[in-house]
């Protein structure tokens, strides 16, 4: 009798203990009794001097619902100061890469002007947003140092430091988006042994301290110049030496509006640390009154440099 009782207790104890030990294993599907907020308009536009203003319009929707389609019946108006600049029209053509967006036909923005966009759609609260285009800032120098190359398997890895100096005006606060990319020249060997070069293209860069970075370029958002004389990237270019040759390193210095800066700084992928429920989600910057999204201007200059010996 004692043995039976003891055995029963131990079995029960084991099960109970284990169920507690597996402390993240207790789970159950739930329907949260949530009050879904009214859908809001979401707009997105980054505009550049002397280029048409392009703006996309969509809306939020309760979680779990199907992906929304772009809103095509919006009335989008752009103001320069207090003057109406142009009403944007919906572009459904596939010629200029702005399909599914609203764009100006004639009007192009300029540096230093204040622009206001107003979007209204039946069934939604109308939204407005304001931004401008800052002055460009010159890249003073672009320098590659510490180049080394290692062959790993089928890849040739070029490891180097890229120093960039730019003429940041000290008397004012400026925001930058500094982007670095790698041009690669594809080639083939002809039947006669000639090297036939094709059109260069941009290839992903990676950092020596990270297995992989997303995107085709390395981007860094900088406020002023910090305390540094120059900005330095530690980069790696990975090429297939049988098909690719190193081209030039291209640096693009975007002088951006605060809206652009803070929006892009918040523009990182949510839900990528530990999975849903555990990570702190990104609260996207928002300069759209009564809605969500961004309307932001920026300027840009480019400069490139070859890798030493290439």
């Amino acid at each position: 009798m004692r043995k039976v009782l003891l055995g029963h207790v131990l079995r029960s104890a084991t099960i109970l203990g284990l169920s507690l030990s597996a402390f993240f294993s207790c789970e159950e599907p739930v329907d949260l009794d949530l009050v879904y907020p009214k859908s809001k308009l979401v707009i997105s536009s980054s505009f550049f001097p002397d280029e048409p203003v392009v703006l996309r319009v969509s809306a939020t929707r309760p979680r779990g619902e199907a992906t929304t389609t772009p809103i095509t019946n919006a009335k989008v108006t752009l103001y320069e100061g207090n003057e109406l600049a142009e009403e944007l029209t919906y572009d459904n053509s596939k010629e200029n890469g702005t399909s599914g967006a609203y764009r100006t036909r004639k009007f192009v923005p300029e540096v230093g002007q204040l622009y206001t966009v107003h979007v209204s759609v039946p069934g939604f609260d109308p939204v407005t947003a304001v931004s401008s285009i800052p002055e460009p800032v010159e890249i003073r120098s672009l320098e590659v140092s510490g180049l080394s190359q290692v062959e790993t398997g089928d890849e040739m890895v070029y490891d180097y430091l890229l120093k960039i100096d730019y003429a940041d005006p000290e008397e004012e606060t400026n925001y930058y988006d500094l982007r670095v990319s790698q041009l690669v020249i594809p080639f083939t060997i002809g039947p006669g042994g000639d090297t036939l070069r094709s059109t260069p293209y941009l290839k992903s860069l990676s950092s020596a301290d990270s297995p992989e970075l997303t995107g085709g370029s390395v981007s860094m958002l900088i406020q002023d110049k910090g305390n540094l004389d120059f900005v330095e990237f530690h980069l790696q270019s990975r090429l297939d030496p049988r098909r690719e040759m190193l081209g030039r390193i291209v640096a693009e210095l975007r002088t951006v509006s605060p809206e652009y800066f803070f929006y892009h700084r918040s523009l990182v992928q949510p839900g990528d640390l530990g999975g849903p429920g555990l990570e702190e989600p990104v609260i996207y910057f928002n300069n759209v009154a009564s809605g969500l999204g961004v309307f932001a201007g920026y300027n840009s200059v480019h400069r490139d440099v070859p890798l030493p010996g290439n």
Partner: protein, 896 residues
């Protein structure tokens, strides 16, 4: 009455003289007394009745007990014997012999000092009250058991009290500065439960005892999950103390982060507090003597954190008898052994805990996952070990060595794939698979060691020297992917995401703590400390496998040094008790040095005999920062030091308290506090770049304020407390968190209500019930989606417009525990049994919500939707534990 006795004595003195004159008879020169223990007053009366020419003041001799050898002697010989050690002398005058106080000690002040310890085990008792019965002056033993007390020369009565021990009264003659070591006997009858300062328990020492005491006896009575006693379970029932659901997330005090609490294990800072993410603390009740929890009015000797203080003292080990305890709960097995190395001079204590359930967890978890259509398993190993040695070093010194080491090793893999067939209208059949994979590995371990030497330098001065070592290593990684595979055309879509954290913080230090009592009711505490740190935080995330990550670069270690000096002066002016403290800290990182001063002020006193008030101001500085990455406080948290780019965090707290003791056993307290925090550091939102995460930390401020009310009954068959907290805690960071807007702290519990009831069913049996209710966590939950503004990734992303803008359901739980101790009279075996129910009404308090994609076939197409899952700790569970102690026979007072 006093006058009547005086008159009688005078008559007795005068009568022989009158008789001499009247009868002119030669007075006797020899006097006979019987032997035995007798009252001095009675013996002197007998002598005068027998004709001895003797006079004295009765109030000088009352209540004095002496031992009489018996026989026949002349009067001087008797007086020599009778007055020895009483502080009285005699003089021969014209009217005969006069007994009077010794002028060499009367009117002078002397110092009593020594150690207070447990009479059975020799353990030093912390916070024992030592009071002079004739006056109001008193003191309490410090964290090493040392006390020092000023007393007037002459006879004195001392009363020594300590929670859970029989009060001791000592009559003594104070004739010089004296070392007086005091031993108290445990009283297991109706042990007093916690532990806020009260007049009856502490006397005037209560004005300086600003901590809340958590003893192992109360912890044992409360029980814990699966029968696992945990001191922090009790701490979380105090007002102003909270955690995540069911303890997950550690201990949070008055709106501070878990990493902002100073946790000291025998004086050494501990950086990792939890096993199992906070479900259990690292403090085994077998090894812990007591914990003092401070929320405000911090003594100046505490510093380095801006939250509360948990000062944990381990047991020393029995100096007189060997004891072995074996036991088990539903979670772990425990073994502890203690005893003298040299009786009365040195002892040892070793205790260990192993999560035996972990060895079976793998099989259980496989079955659990299989039931839910997944494969994979969970492995989890936990152990901790405590070792303590102590050795008497001369008459006034003692050496202690303590060591703690613990490890958690957790691994969880889960793989699931569903196959769905979706025929199209044209009859084409598409076969989809939705493989989903989760893998987490977490390993963390603490090692804490201290070598201490206590020395009583003089009757007023005590010192403690300490060498310390503290180390926390954590490494964790995860991989997860959710994908969809259309098998017919081999179309694959999926995202593999991974991250790896590695953190090491090591601290090696040397310190001196001193105490000096220059005047009555005055204590000066002072100390110096130097600590060398080594930090190695590493964080990597990528869209690739963890196995492809590079090894952590050991050359990136940061090695700051911290120098600290502190002093405090506690004294009394009329009815105002005050303690003024100052702590100076120099934090020297390689690229930057920070110097900070932290003043502390405590003012307290009585409004009336039953009503006390207290005001305090505490400024604190924290040079090490804990970065929490997960809601659950998983030890993927990284500790980073203050550097050129990260300044130390600072906090100022203003607090006030009223304590009312309407009846002997009841204490009611009401507290208000306001705390401001600056220099807080947190991860910026979003993915952390391996290159720049430490440079992109967000800085911010916080504030917390609240009201705490508590009623406590500390004696009687029904004991416990009820408390209510109304609080708010907010944070404001730069624009990289919540776009710079103020948001509620995750553990911002607006309302909290705790009830603890301990009912004494019998001499050895208690039934304990605890109920806790708290406002739900503030949580960043998305209820809407929008198109993904990023150029890559999923089409839609969750919309969260306000950090911690969603409130989880309220958190509440009822636990019951029956605790009994069985032991036959004279037996060397003691059985402690706990039987209880955890989460009695099966409340599923969410730790967090997981949102998972789920796929169904609708109208011939594969449709995905998101399903919320509530993750919670445990349903209703019985709890059971048993401990068998083999040692010295139970004490006579046991169970009475």
């Amino acid at each position: 009455m006093r006058w009547a006795r005086l008159l009688t004595a005078l008559l007795i003195c005068i009568t022989p003289v009158l008789g001499i004159r009247a009868q002119s008879v030669t007075p006797p020169t020899l006097f006979s007394l019987s032997s035995g223990e007798r009252q001095l007053e009675e013996v002197l009366t007998e002598l005068t009745t027998a004709g001895a020419p003797l006079s004295y003041r009765p109030d000088h001799v009352e209540r004095l007990t002496i031992r009489v050898t018996g026989g026949t002697h002349d009067l001087p010989r008797w007086l020599d014997e009778l007055l020895a050690g009483t502080g009285l002398i005699y003089e021969l005058g014209s009217a005969g012999y006069l007994v009077l106080p010794d002028p060499r000690i009367s009117g002078r002040e002397f110092q009593l000092f020594g150690m207070v310890s447990d009479a059975q085990s020799g353990e030093r008792l912390i916070g024992a009250t030592v009071r002079l019965l004739d006056g109001q002056s008193g003191t309490y033993s410090n964290e090493y058991g040392f006390y020092t007390l000023r007393a007037e020369g002459g006879r004195a009565s001392l009363r020594i009290t300590y929670v859970g021990y029989l009060p001791e009264e000592i009559d003594l003659l104070v004739s010089s500065d004296s070392l007086l070591d005091i031993s108290l006997r445990p009283n297991r009858q109706l042990p007093q439960v916690i532990v806020t300062s009260s007049a009856s328990a502490l006397g005037e020492a209560r004005y300086f005892e600003t901590g809340t005491r958590i003893g192992r006896m109360e912890v044992a009575q409360l029980g814990g999950p699966a029968g696992e006693d945990d001191p922090l379970q009790l701490a979380r029932l105090l007002p102003g103390v909270t955690s995540g659901a069911d303890g997950i997330g550690g201990v949070l005090i008055r709106g501070s982060e878990a990493g902002q609490n100073l946790i000291l294990l025998d004086g050494v800072p501990v950086y990792g507090l939890s096993h199992a993410g906070g479900l259990l603390s690292i403090f085994s009740n077998q090894a812990i003597r007591r914990i003092d929890l401070y929320k405000d009015a911090l003594p100046a000797r505490f510093g380095g954190r801006i939250g509360g203080v948990l000062d944990v003292h381990t047991r020393d080990g029995n100096l007189y008898d060997n004891e072995i305890t074996v036991g088990s709960s539903l979670l772990s097995g425990q073994l502890s052994a203690e005893g003298p190395i040299k009786t009365g001079a040195s002892s040892f204590l070793i205790s260990g805990r192993y999560l035996w359930a972990s060895s079976l967890l793998q099989r259980f978890s496989e079955a659990y996952k299989e039931e839910r259509g997944r494969s994979g398993s969970t492995d989890y190993d936990v152990y901790d070990v405590n070792l303590k040695l102590n050795q008497k070093a001369g008459e006034r010194g003692r050496i202690y060595f303590s060591l703690y080491s613990g490890l958690d090793d957790y691994r969880n893999d889960s793989w699931q794939s569903r196959t769905m067939v979706a025929p199209s209208d044209a009859g084409t059949v598409f076969v989809y698979q939705t493989p989903s994979y989760r893998s987490e590995q977490v390993r963390w371990g603490n090692t804490v060691g201290a070598l201490r030497y206590n020395h009583v330098f003089s009757d007023r001065t005590f010192g403690n020297f300490r060498l310390s070592y503290s180390d926390l290593k954590t490494s964790s990684s995860f991989e997860r992917y959710d994908s969809i595979l259309e098998r017919s055309n081999a179309i694959y879509e999926g995202d593999l995401l991974s991250g790896q954290y590695f953190s090491q913080i090591r601290q090696v230090g040397v310190a001196f703590d001193g105490q000096h009592s220059p005047a009555p009711s005055t204590v000066v505490r002072f100390g110096l400390e130097a600590n060398a740190h080594r930090f190695l935080p590493q964080l990597m995330t990528a869209e690739g496998k963890v196995s492809e990550y590079p090894e952590p670069n050991r050359d990136d270690a940061l090695r700051p040094v911290e120098l600290t000096a502190y002093s405090s002066y506690g004294s009394k002016w009329r009815s105002l008790y005050y303690r003024l403290g100052l702590r100076a800290t120099l934090w020297n990182a390689s690229d930057k040095a920070y110097f900070n001063l932290s003043p502390r002020i405590l003012l307290a006193g009585p409004f009336s005999p039953t009503l006390d008030w207290q005001l305090s101001y505490d400024r604190t500085v924290q040079s090490v920062h804990l970065l929490n990455s997960f809601v659950i406080g998983f030890p993927s948290d990284l500790w980073v030091p203050s550097t050129n780019s990260i300044a130390p965090a600072r906090s100022s707290q203003y607090a006030g308290k009223l304590s009312w003791q309407p009846l002997e056993e009841w204490v009611m307290t009401g507290s208000l506090y306001y705390k401001r925090m600056n220099g807080l550091v947190a991860y910026s939102e979003g993915r952390q770049s391996p290159l720049t995460w430490i440079d992109n930390l967000s800085r911010g401020t916080g504030r917390a304020y609240g009201l705490e009310l508590m009623a406590q009954r500390s004696r009687g068959r029904l004991r416990g407390w009820v408390n209510y907290t109304l609080a708010r805690s907010q944070r404001t960071f730069d624009r990289r968190i919540n776009q710079g807007r103020t948001f509620p702290f995750r553990y911002d519990r607006r309302h909290a209500f705790n009830l603890l009831v301990i009912y004494q069913l019998g001499d050895r049996t208690t039934l304990t019930g605890s109920w806790r209710y708290e406002t739900g966590l503030a949580y960043s939950l998305s209820v809407a989606t929008r198109n993904n503004p990023a150029g890559e990734g999923p089409t839609d992303v969750p919309v969260v417009t306000e950090r911690n803008g969603f409130r989880m359901p309220d958190n509440h739980r009822l636990d019951l525990n029956l605790h009994t101790i069985l032991s036959a009279t004279g037996s060397r075996f003691t059985h402690a049994i706990d039987l209880g129910v955890y989460n009695v009404y099966n409340r599923h308090n969410p730790v967090y919500y997981d949102i998972r994609p789920e796929y169904t076939v609708e109208d011939g197409s594969l449709v995905s939707h998101e399903q919320f899952y509530r993750i919670f700790i445990a349903p209703v569970l019985p709890s059971l534990s048993y401990h068998l102690t083999f040692g010295s026979p139970a004490t006579p007072v046991f169970g009475r």
